[in-house]
């Protein structure tokens, strides 16, 4: 099971956090501090796994962003590494050549994508296409809602003129 997903920038700034196991706000801060110390200082040629508090953290660097997932000791690290990559590929498809900035300003969208990929700490869907379709469906509804809201407000605006 994945206990949490954390995205940290090279400078140690938090870009996204998702907790599947209960951690208090205090613990979360501590976890992130510990992890960034652990992960950011590792050399480039070393393995992508770190043992931490009896659990394992699998991380991968993309440009200046570190994707970290914390898993149980008996989980398959290589698989998790691929889940991270899977997520990045989906983000890339969604944002169109995703960059860190996309995630900074659209972190909530990154959350929506993550929610379609992982649920309750498990991989729920391994087809990129399915996820893309679901997100697109949600977005189109959102777009429709926006237009509707606009048109209504237009009508109101015109009516009250």
């Amino acid at each position: 099971m994945i206990h949490f997903v954390v995205l940290i920038s090279r400078q140690g700034k938090v870009r996204l956090t998702k907790w599947y196991s209960p951690y208090s706000q205090k613990e979360r801060t501590k976890v992130i501090r510990e992890l960034s110390g652990l992960v950011l200082n590792r050399g480039p040629k070393l393995s992508n796994f770190v043992e931490w508090r009896g659990l394992k953290v699998v991380y991968k660097r993309y440009a200046s962003l570190y994707f970290c997932m914390c898993i149980d000791p008996e989980d398959n690290e290589l698989e998790i590494l691929e889940i991270i990559h899977h997520y990045v590929e989906i983000l890339d498809r969604y944002f169109g050549s995703v960059c860190e900035l996309d995630l900074i300003y659209n972190f909530h969208k990154a959350y929506y994508v993550l929610d379609e990929l992982l649920i309750a700490g498990e991989l729920q869907e391994s087809s990129k296409k399915t996820i893309a379709r679901l997100i697109a469906a949600q977005d189109s509804l959102v777009e429709a809602a926006k237009e509707e809201a606009n048109s209504i407000s237009n009508i109101i605006a015109q009516a009250t003129k």
Binding site: Q25, S64, E79, H85, D92, L101, T130
Partner: protein, 955 residues
Amino acid sequence: MGSQGGFGQSKEFLDLVKSIGEARSKSEEDRIILREIETLKRRIVEPDIPKRKMKEYIIRLVYVEMLGHDASFGYIHAVKMTHDDNLLLKRTGYLAVTLFLNEDHDLIILIVNTIQKDLKSDNYLVVCAALNAVCRLINEETIPAVLPQVVELLGHQKEAVRKKAIMALHRFYQKSPSSVSHLISNFRKKLCDNDPGVMGATLCPLFDLITIDVKSFKDLVVSFVSILKQVTERRLPKSYDYHQMPAPFIQIKLLKILALLGNGDKHASGQMYTVIGDLMRKCDASTNIGNAVLYECICCVSSIYPNTKLLEAAAEIISKFLKSDNHNLKYMGIDALGRLIKINPDVAEQHQLAVIDCLEDPDDTLKRKTFELLHKMTKSSNVEVIVNRMIDYMISVNDFHYKTEIASRCVELAEQYAPSNHWFILTMNKVFEHAGDLVDIKVAHNLMRLIAEGFGEDDDAADSQLRSSAVESYLRIVTEPKLPSAFLQVICWVLGEYGTADGNYSASYITGKICDVAEAYSSDETVKAYAITALMKIYAFEIAAGRKLDILTECQSLIEELAASHSTDLQQRAYELQAVVCLDAHAVECIMPSDASCEDIEIDITLPFLNSYVQQSLQNGAQPYIPEDARTGALSVSSFSNQEHRETSSHGLKFEAYEMPKPPVPSRPPPVSISTDLVPVPEPSYSRETHVSPPVLSASSSGSSELKLRLDGVQKKWGRPTYSSSPTSSSGVSPSPANGASKVEPAAPSTSRPRETYKDSKKAEVDPEKQKLAASLFGGASKSEKRASSTSHKASKGSSHSTGTSSVSKSSVPSTSEVKSPPQPLPDLLDLGEPTVSTIVPSADPFMQLEGLLDHDESGSTGSNAALDSTAKVPDIVSLYSELQVSGHDSSSTISPLSSNGSNNKNLKRTVSGGSPQGMKGPNLKEALEKDALVRQMGVNPTTQNPNLFKDLFG
């Protein structure tokens, strides 16, 4: 798609994000966020906030919370937002509550109603959003509220809903297995769902169910095998392919399940052999995901009923992993090796040099994994090498958590496999010296007991030699600064008990050392207690031996200081010491016999000798015994007060003290029998190890304190039976550490093993250092295996020695050739800055190319050039993949070939882009520039701080 049309937030929020991005320190960031919190607190309670504005506030709250601050003041607004009818707002509300709230939060109750309503919605997107929230927020109490609806959704026409419903039920199962126990048949049914996504999701709960109860799922073996077969034969839709592997994540999950089902079941395993064998043969070992599947195959093979062929295949894969340059694969290889040696210990032998390499690798993760492997393959023949290595590493690490773990592993191995007592003591000394505060205090007691008892053999000479060497080593160590408390306790106890036993050291020398300890660690009362008891023992032995007692002035002052101590425990010990040194030799020898810490004493817990006294008291009008549970606290105040002080020192205020009778001060029959009778010393089950048994006192004042003695006896009789129920192994007068030790851990390593005299000096002449180490690790391992089967100790020793040698030389041949030959065609998939990979492996996978892209040092210079190239070539590649084109994401067409191309078009790409992998990512640079421009338009300009922000994550 997502970022087009602006970022959709207000300027204010964008400015916030920007200022956070530009913050130079954590404290600056905190200041900004605190200001934001103030703003939000004020704004969010304003009346009539437009919904769109509210939505933004909620997202800002998420941002605040994400950066580690408390946004609880806004939780209620997020909860309110989930009530909204507009999906846009509802979705935001659900996102926020799932991020904010843990399942035990009070606000959950306000959401359950909404969730119930939304689960019934005819818009499947609403249902999906609600199910996401269900997985995160529903706790054991609220499961019944949503369970019927979730079960109903298993039959929903949309596969996305069915999938999430399954995952929700899985979550329920994790929280409260009983809540869904009647639904297990649903999981079985959903395994046959015609959507592979639903089927894949169903594997998660099934895995958990099978982990708990294998037997009732044995009938599914055939189904799982057939699904796995179909997956590997690419029967699933293409969209489940990942880097050309057919649905690898589903394969891995299936393999995990098969490993459980086949464990120890020959019949079930037999059904799996073919499909696993095929999978291992066909699997593409050049991609990371392929290796993930292969690793899972090894786990499966080592779990199910052994099959020689599969084991061989597994061993082969492991050797590929270990020979790889990629640290991830090495790590997986070491882990897999650890699994395989459980079945076949010989596998390790051929990889010895690779293992040694990993042990000396600068990568800590790999090192630790290797220690784990060594821990698994420890035998009495290689324990010395392994434990020494572990200790060296233990000294070097700072991580508290890991240090504790490795220390306890060292102790465990040493206790289990120690080749000699001497080695054991030295090893424990090292562990204590460097991690004494981290190991269990029981370990210290074990060590004391070991030194006191010897190794159970009737070889007094060896035992005393052992003690001498212990004393010697402690006298050496004791001068080191800052020793852990537990270790000092051991040192004091051993010095007190055996410091003067062999006559090598004078009493004044030893007592001097002990005094130094007590002074140096004056804040540690336990150590001081051990120290003064040790002094008492040494003086007692001196007196008993008839030597003139010469108390050093420093010792004298220490005793006086402790006699005036605030700790009553220390005080008592000091007074006892003063009393003992005034006695004559005969009395001292009786109360403090030398080396008697292991003598057994018998205790009659009914204390029959007191019967007459009790009778007499009753006749004289004393109150009869009141059972413990009927007793009130007030009753015992006076009668217990005389022992109270022994406890108070260590526990401070103890509220239930009056209900818990203290361990009785050992009573004794009238003083006449002092010299003949064994004195019963009840060992209080909760006492610290530092209790000095007080008979000393009573002995010294025996003549006058008849009354007090009897009183003690009465309490003993009335006390809790448990306190005195376990007879302890001490001759009453010697202090109790030995008692404590022997009581705590009766199953300590008392059986000594013949010391391994295996030496590898011969090999050292021909082989390098590493092989020597390897030989001592692995050669020894195989040796002991062989010896176990043979009956004749000596003969087997000789023969096994030669086999050990030959195995080493044999395995050295392939391993040296491995070093010389160019790296195996397992590419370095995951290394970021590995430029050589592409030249070594011309047929590498797309994944590797992706990795190459991460080399961002070069991307800037080649970017614009490559952009031209790639714009020209994109259509070619895409036309090869019309299937992807259909999906119609223009923006994704640059990435899609990356994720799904074959080796042929990869070559094409190579030639087009002139060998520069960055070529493919050309258009992204453009997009990045566009994004940059867009952000600038909005007045946000973060580029100054961190240009990387615009860098494509893939390039």
